[in-house]
């Protein structure tokens, strides 16, 4: 290498300038115009179809009435192609005469045409027919058919191998967990998200802004993103304008109502109180309630004297949600743009101030500066706000777990009652202050491309984004007594305000250069792409807090007591440098080869481990293109076999693991009541910290038959991850935290399949589709041995965080049976659970724990159907999981044991008259532990479910009516989301069982009904 060390930034700037100033000459000749229309086979105009000209860079998109115009066409004969997802591509020849307008009409037939779908493959797009790896794509319209707050929720059920786990409807924090082909690491398993060409975030994008979402699943597809792609890649494109020759204004919007879905049902009050009485009696205590009390309560005689409080009803309500976008889009030969303003408002379903609001403005512009030089400027400004109660979670938990319905909500004078328990969930929810958060995000994304007629193309992209976040948490002074029952005991008290103001600042800068060369001769087609990317991310944080403000209205830390304060700050930065290349080769469109090579460097790794090389290769054979096949097997339109292998990395680990650090302000101590700062050694550095490496092999097949109406895609894969980061235990004598090492291994093996049928019967267009996938996750290497965390386990040969506990084998029926069994608990009797003595030592204890469940969903599937008849359209989406273990804990299985929430399903509990019960007998209070020691397999339940995820009915107002209202198009629709769920776990929505917690999440999933319109002007 040369000794001249030109800084990389300089080099980048220089070459960008070189690219941009390179001369470009536009030859003015005699030109003509092509104008045309595009309609479907029924003659209905087709907007948004892409029209390209073979052998030229000219392209445009059809407008709302299906019209398009191509101006400045040199005289000559051209082949025009029209294509759109869901339609069969069509080409027509047209001759242009200078100074004249030629016209052309397309009639596109609707097809399955899965293979004609355009997929973003990173730095390029390809039709699915030419893709050699495993990819998926969903068009934005498909997602917006389902009015959802978060695009992650919108992805559920569409793509096999893309698992979306939804943990509830908390406004502003309801992003679902998206996993592609299982979990490859013990740390962050999220996919790499690319928005408009650069790393971005998925959670705050407005679904109405999305043009398409592509997912790269296998190593060969994702390899162009090398070091960061081990968990798969999601490529999102936002909507852009197109050359329609005019501008139009569109409005999309909906209003929705959200209600908590699948709240558990409570038994009637009489049954509940009688059951509690029985429990008291069986524990040799006097019955808790008199018959008169029970009767009065059941009859609702006096709500203050005999309360029957529906706590869940007091905590949850139905709440509105609305999303609206106004967009100006369109363009001419020189400029195309899409300017949009969006306002999303989601109110929470809790009965206190609780919302998420998002304002987004986005300007996506294209400039055709010359015949060769094009540029894009994409600007975005987003403002997000949330308010959430501090008592959230606590309140819902106490409502189910600790507060009987006989506890009163409020006395007639409006003061809170804590009469029958020390909790008042409503007070906990509403009186403990809140957290107000705000994020302001700005981003600028500039793209330049220079194309030559000889097949060379150069691109440069610069992106910068800045995200400011502020969280203000305020805890007021509170002191709530029960004025009637215990006037001297404070049930909820906080004698000082606490105000915590934290600010986070993220700044990312990303620059990319690409060079492409494309050439075809004879049967050979080459496409070479090389590129360079440099990315820098900075993070800063500062936090200040004070307690003891003068009153509850002074919520900023500055108003607090200076002697009761705390501050903190943190900073970090990471940098990534990448070089990558991809070669596509096709022979006769029949044999397709793709080779990728990515060489990535990351600042997160040890000095000698900064760089990694990630190769991949994939091959596809379009069997249907073979002459013999075309001749003999005519009913198969497409048959493609695919195979790939590749190696990918994961760099999403903590910063600075390779550096020795000192923890300042750690080990502080107060001498003489004055705080003195301390310093302690940080985590032990591991200078050899490096990539987590995933090798993945994939095999797949794509088939289309019956005139492209039926399509099938299937894949099998094997993903082996090594060098997974793990804090390996070290001796306590070292006195420091364990260093992180590339030590563990994880395996994911699975398959995916999707089948789609799309056809038309007379005037009815319809389609149905089904997809399903399964993944088997296993830990293959875990130095340091098993890691046990209460009821989850990491162990070689088991899935990550397997459910761990005692195996329950049945319910004891007789005292003799108890006596003959291994010793469990001195109080064990008939009706209690019977545990397996795994080690045969005659007693049941922690040594008898085994793996009792797998938290990962299996056989995840989705099914969709849509139908269109004249101006009416309807669609349905079902989504489900075929096999999943859910571990139930807490109140949901305790019921009357602790006199808390008594769900109806627990009525089927063991008693001498109900020996064939689903649940063990009720036992009084802490004796319950004999039925739930830590965790046992009895409470590991079948979490399979099927959800009617979406229903959508739409009507497109006939054009002449729309025109009369000065609109070019108008559609109205009604949609339902999370309409119904079928599950063996009645009242316990399995999608809410969060693997990170042992208890169900109580911010319930919401069921939404919405009414929306799309208007074009």
């Amino acid at each position: 290498m040369s000794q001249i060390k030109l800084s990389v930034w300089w080099r980048l700037i220089l070459s960008t300038i070189a690219l941009l100033v390179a001369p470009s000459i536009v030859f003015a000749q005699g030109t003509g115009t092509i104008s045309g229309t595009i309609a479907d086979s029924m003659g209905v105009p087709v907007p948004n179809a892409r029209i390209t000209v073979d052998g030229a860079t000219k392209a445009t998109t059809s407008g709302s009435t299906g019209e398009f115009t191509l101006t400045g066409m040199a005289a000559g004969t051209y082949t025009l192609r029209a294509r759109l997802i869901g339609f069969r591509e069509q080409s027509q020849s047209v001759t242009v005469t200078a100074g004249q307008m030629s016209s052309v009409q397309f009639r596109l037939g609707r097809t399955a045409v899965e293979l004609e779908t355009i997929v973003s493959t990173g730095y390029a797009t390809q039709t699915k027919a030419n893709v050699t790896g495993a990819t998926e794509v969903v068009a934005g319209e498909e997602i917006t058919k389902r009015p959802v707050s978060n695009i992650t929720k919108g992805l559920q059920g569409f793509m096999p191998g893309v698992t979306v786990q939804d943990f509830g409807g908390r406004p502003g924090a309801d992003g679902a967990q998206v996993r592609i082909r299982g979990a490859t690491t013990l740390g962050n398993n999220g996919a790499l998200i690319i928005v408009d060409g650069v790393v971005g975030e998925i959670n705050n994008l407005d679904p109405l802004d999305i043009e398409s979402v592509s997912v790269l699943k296998d190593a060969a597809s994702a390899a162009i993103y090398g070091a960061r792609a081990a968990n798969g890649v999601v490529i999102i494109k936002t909507r852009r304008g197109s050359n329609t020759g005019a501008f139009k204004v569109t409005y999309d919007g909906y209003v929705a109502t959200q209600t908590a879905q699948n709240m558990p049902e409570r038994v009637d009050i009489r049954t509940e109180l009688q059951t509690v009485n029985q429990l008291y009696v069986s524990s040799n205590l006097a019955p808790k309630y008199t018959d008169g009390y029970i009767d009065s309560t059941a009859r609702g005689l006096d709500p203050f004297k005999y309360p029957n409080t529906n706590w869940l009803g007091l905590i949850y309500k139905s709440a509105p949600m609305a999303d609206q976008t106004v967009r100006l889009s369109g363009g001419n030969d020189l400029t195309q743009l899409s300017l949009s303003a969006n306002y999303f408002d989601q109110q929470g379903i809790l009965t206190t101030e609780n919302y998420y609001k998002r304002y987004t403005t986005r300007a996506n512009t294209n400039f055709n500066i010359s015949k060769r030089l094009t540029a894009q400027a994409n600007l975005m400004l987003m403002d997000e706000k949330t308010v959430r109660p501090r008592g959230e979670g606590d309140a819902e938990f106490r409502a189910i777990h600790d507060t009987p319905p006989t506890s009163l909500f409020k006395y007639p004078d409006g003061s809170y009652s804590w009469s029958k328990s020390d909790y008042n969930p409503v007070a906990l929810l509403r009186e403990q202050g809140n957290v107000k958060s705000r994020w302001i995000t700005t981003s600028i994304n500039l793209v330049g491309a220079y194309a030559l007629e000889n097949g060379f193309k150069f691109g440069a992209q610069f992106e910068g984004d800045n995200k400011d976040n502020r969280n203000l948490e305020f805890q007021p002074v509170t002191r709530f007594f029960d004025p009637v029952v215990k006037p001297t005991t404070a049930h909820m008290d906080n004698n000082r305000t606490n105000s915590i103001d934290s600010r986070n600042w993220n700044f990312n800068m990303d620059a990319q250069l690409t060079g492409e060369y494309e050439r075809s001769f004879g049967p050979h087609a080459f496409h070479l792409l090389t590129g360079y990317e440099q990315r820098q991310s900075e993070f800063d944080n500062a936090q200040a807090s004070r307690r003891g403000a003068y009153n509850n209205d002074l919520q900023l830390p500055g108003n607090g007591d200076p002697t009761l304060q705390g501050t903190g700050s943190d900073a970090s930065q990471t940098r990534i440098i990448r070089q990558f290349a991809r070669l596509n080769y096709g022979w006769n469109n029949r044999y397709l080869l793709e080779v990728d090579l990515s060489h990535d460097g990351s600042s997160r790794f040890g000095p000698s481990k900064k760089y990694g090389t990630f190769p991949s290769a994939s091959l596809a054979w379009r069997v249907s293109e073979e002459p013999f096949f075309k001749q003999h097997i005519g009913f198969i339109d497409e048959l493609k076999l695919r195979g790939s292998w590749g190696r990918l990395g994961n760099d999403r680990i903590d910063d600075y693991l390779f550096q020795e650090t000192i923890n300042l302000n750690s080990g502080n101590y107060s001498f003489n009541n004055v705080l003195s700062s301390g310093a302690t050694p940080g985590r032990i550095a591991n200078t050899n910290i490096g990539w987590e490496t995933t090798e993945q092999t994939n095999g797949g097949v794509d088939i289309e038959v019956l005139d492209h109406r039926l399509s099938f895609t299937g894949d099998v894969y094997n993903k082996q991850t090594s060098g997974v980061l793990l804090a390996v235990p070290i001796s306590a004598l070292v006195g420091r935290a364990s260093p992180t090492q590339n030590a563990a291994g994880v395996s994911n093996v699975g398959w995916e399949g999707a089948v789609n049928w799309r056809s038309e019967v007379r005037a009815v267009n319809y389609s149905v589709g089904f997809n399903i996938a399964n993944n088997k996750n296993r830990i293959t290497r875990l130095p340091g041995g098993d890691q046990i965390n209460t009821n989850s386990l990491r162990r070689v040969g088991e899935p990550i965080d397997a459910i761990f506990g005692i195996k329950a084998v049945g319910i004891f029926q007789t005292p003799e049976e108890v006596a003959a069994w291994a010793t469990q608990n001195p109080k064990t009797g008939p009706g209690d659970l019977k545990y397996k003595d795994q080690n045969g030592d005659g007693k049941i204890d922690a040594n008898d724990r085994v793996v009792i469940g797998d938290r990962f969903p299996h056989y995840t599937f989705g099914a969709n159907g849509s139908v269109q008849w004249r101006n009416f359209d309807a669609s349905v989406l079902l989504q489900g999981v075929g096999k999943q273990d859910i571990f139930l804990d807490g109140a949901l299985i305790e019921g009357p044991t602790w006199e808390n929430f008594f769900p109806t399903y627990l009525l089927d509990s063991w008693s001498p008259t109900n020996r064939d019960a689903k649940w063990p007998r009720f036992v009084y209070r802490s004796d319950h532990n004999q039925n739930a020691p830590g965790s046992n397999s009895w409470y590991v339940r079948d979490g399979k479910y099927l959800t009617l995820k979406n229903l959508n009915f739409g009507y497109t107002i006939p054009t002449h009516y729309a025109n009369w209202a000065r609109m070019s198009s108008a559609r109205v629709y009604v949609a339902g989301t999370n309409v119904y769920t079928w599950s063996p776990l009645k009242g316990l929505l399995p999608t809410e069982a969060n693997p990170g917690s042992t208890r169900a999440t109580y911010y319930f999933q919401t069921r939404n009904w919405s009414f929306g319109t799309s208007l074009g002007f």
Binding site: R496, G601, D655, Y656, E660, Y669, N672, A679, G682, A732
Partner: protein, 530 residues
């Protein structure tokens, strides 16, 4: 022109692949807290000494220790401290593992300071203060090893910072070797430590603290002459005296008393960084919505003498009626334990079960925060904190003068000098401070009785019953018992936790070395019986 683009094109592509080599500096980011600049100035040493103090035994554990003796009980069976009272503690038990880690962390910090302080250039550190930092570190290391050896017996003893590999090669040192080292550390520290401090240094280790801890270490290992001499040396310093009001010593009013020789310092204002304590919330009574996770048991209540200096079984003053049994008792009972009829928070503490009592402390085995014995801890529970339960600031005493006086008396008795006038005088100082009659002669039992009632819930009883080898007599009981009360049918009942039978296998004189440590180090030997 075409060739120009070809050249430009190749340039971009080439650059893409060669650019990396000179870009290494670009990837070389550094953490804001990188270690490169440490150990260059005095402030670095100060920060490290400070963090070494933070590993001292704390309020939570010291009170917990008494819950593992005949003084108290861990209130709930599912608490991880419970297994140390029913004989089922095993090498997997998590509570002892936490303490093992805490004290070795302290040892490692002290060792790191001792190994690095000489690297600070002489011009950058005051030579007198440097000697003090070294002495503080040695003192603290002695305190940590004293905890470790008395909890676990023969443990490994690193005296310099160790790597994981070095740690895994270590073997057990014998308890004798460890005590030798502890005494050597205190001996080295004492002369270099000042007698007292001023300003924001108050609370650091003093010469008196080093001598007093030397006495404790020597006494624990049966080196009575050394213990007596060290205790005498503390007494001869003339700086320490007993706080007049025993009850007030364990409150905000008692902080900075001349009785306190060394304490784990806490401050209310330090809540944001966790340098406060939660004594009121954790060990206070349910009356004030506290948890009371360790509670006194009947055996301790019965151990307090009557004001005539006789035990409850021999004194005519004792009335066994449920509401009279606490009258005329050693005043330290009321200062240490909350019992029915005790005045508390403007009312009367009444822990009899409902409906006899309508108070939050009413006995109720179903409520985890209510004491299973009906007794709650009074010592260190200062009502100043009742509305700020999570934020206490009272220092927890690790060494006080009364302990030194009793250690002196004990050592003298053990040396066969029970008739030593100074020993008797020291002993009687402790009794007369609380208006208990002075004794005229001294026996081993007198000393043990006095230590139990004087030092209850200060984290010392556990190690006293171990070194006296009396745990196997005092620990096994069929059930944990508590208050007496008369039930609705007029029958006198003694509250008992039905499933709390206590056992004491001989192995329990030492806790097991944590399995996690044995797994990593095959050279380590487990204590007998585990």
């Amino acid at each position: 022109m075409k060739s120009r683009f070809l050249i430009l094109g190749s340039l971009v592509m080439t650059m893409s692949f060669v650019g990396c080599q000179s870009a290494d500096d670009l990837l070389g980011v550094e953490s804001p807290t990188t270690v490169n600049t440490f150990w260059t100035q005095e402030a670095d040493a100060v920060l490290f000494v400070t963090s070494t103090y933070s590993a001292l035994p704390g309020w939570f554990d010291l009170i917990s220790f008494d819950g593992m003796t005949d003084n108290g009980a861990v209130n709930r069976q599912f608490d991880n401290r419970y297994v140390y009272t029913d004989g089922t503690a095993d090498p997997q038990s998590g509570y002892a593992r936490g303490l093992w880690g805490q004290f070795y962390t302290g040892v490692a910090r002290a060792n790191t300071l001792l190994a690095n302080i000489d690297g600070i250039p002489a011009a950058k550190i005051d030579s007198t203060r440097k000697k003090r930092y070294v002495a503080e570190a040695r003192f603290l290391r002695g305190v940590f090893y004293l905890q470790l050896v008395s909890m676990f017996g023969d443990v490994p003893m690193p005296l310099k910072p160790v790597t994981d590999a070095e740690a895994r090669a270590m073997t057990n040192s014998t308890a004798t070797q460890i005590y030798d080292q502890i005494l050597a550390d205190f001996d080295a520290a004492a002369p270099a430590l000042p007698l007292s401090y001023t300003g924001n240094d108050i609370g650091r280790a003093t010469r008196g603290a080093a001598l007093a801890f030397k006495a404790r270490a020597a006494l624990y290992d049966g080196r009575y002459q050394i213990a007596a001499d060290a205790a005498k040396a503390v007494m001869d310093l003339g700086r320490y005296s007993l706080h007049t009001n025993y009850a007030a010593l364990f409150s905000y009013a008692g902080e900075n008393s001349p009785e306190i020789i060394f304490a784990h310092n806490y401050a209310k204002t330090a809540q944001a960084t966790g340098q406060n304590n939660n004594m009121f919330g954790e060990y206070g009574p349910p009356t004030n919505s506290s948890t009371g996770s360790v509670v006194p048991i009947r055996s301790l209540v019965d151990a307090y003498q009557m004001i005539d200096g006789q035990s409850i079984t021999t004194s005519p003053l004792y009335d066994p009626a449920w509401d009279k049994m606490y009258s005329n008792r050693d005043p330290r009972l009321a200062a240490t334990i909350l019992y029915p009829t005790a005045p508390w928070d403007g009312g009367i503490f009444d822990s009899r079960p409902s409906p006899l009592s309508t108070k939050p402390e009413a006995l109720n085995l179903a409520l985890a925060s209510v004491s299973v014995t009906g007794y709650n801890i009074r010592k260190y529970i200062d009502l100043t904190d009742k509305n700020d339960r999570g934020n206490g600031g009272i220092d927890f005493i690790l060494m006080r003068y009364a302990d030194v006086l009793l250690m002196y008396a004990e050592a003298k008795v053990a040396l066969g000098q029970a008739d030593d006038a100074a020993a008797l005088a020291a002993f009687n100082q402790v009794r007369t401070r609380v208006q208990m009659p002075a004794l005229t002669t001294l026996t081993q039992n007198d000393v043990r009785q006095e230590r139990r009632v004087e030092l209850a819930f200060e984290g010392l009883r556990l190690f006293d019953i171990r070194r006296w080898k009396i745990a196997e007599q005092v620990m096994p009981i069929p059930a944990v018992t508590g208050i007496d009360y008369v039930d609705a049918t007029g029958v006198k009942v003694t509250a008992a936790q039905p499933v709390s039978a206590r056992r004491f296998p001989v192995r329990a004189y030492l806790w097991p070395i944590p399995q996690s440590e044995l797994d990593l180090n095959k050279n380590l030997k487990q204590n007998p019986g585990y």
